[in-house]
Symmetry: C2
Subunit: 92 residues, 2 copies
């Protein structure tokens, strides 16, 4: 199962569609966001996805957690550790 | 039950303590945030509160939703409608 990575510039409807698709296929989705703008987009996408899935009779809930991730610079070098928010989404 | 209102300047540990206290007392908490900075603080506080409550044997999950709220200006006049994120938090 792939992690859904969200940035501050991600379109909420596209992320929401990805969440809904992964839940339908795998019964679990993980969304990762670093920074306030990205976390906000991720949560908005989750609201939309929750509504899409409710139409299919699937009620999902979310558990957020911190996770340390390694970020590379523009040259794919100099890894730095950042704290991301991971939203774990599952049927209730 | 009071709504827990979070701003971009809220301390996550204080909000986390409030969430945990309300869950222990009422088995349900609602957290409201407007704007990316506030949503980020709310989600970080929820991660901390989830960890506090797990130590008490309480596993909580979250369902985010949009809610329209009326915001007043500095003179408590000229109400404007803004879309807030509300995190509904309950034992799993």
């Amino acid at each position: 199962m792939d992690m859904i990575k969200v940035s501050a510039n991600s379109r909420t409807s596209a992320v929401a569609g990805a969440i809904a698709g992964v839940i339908r296929e795998h019964k679990r989705a993980e969304v990762q966001a670093i920074g306030a703008g990205a976390v906000n987009q991720a949560v908005k996408a989750l609201v939309l996805a929750t509504s899409y899935l409710k139409n299919d009779g699937i009620n999902v809930v979310c558990v957020p957690e911190f996770v340390d991730v390694e970020i590379m610079d523009a040259n794919n070098e100099n890894p730095a550790v950042r704290t991301a928010i991971r939203l774990v989404i599952e049927p209730r």
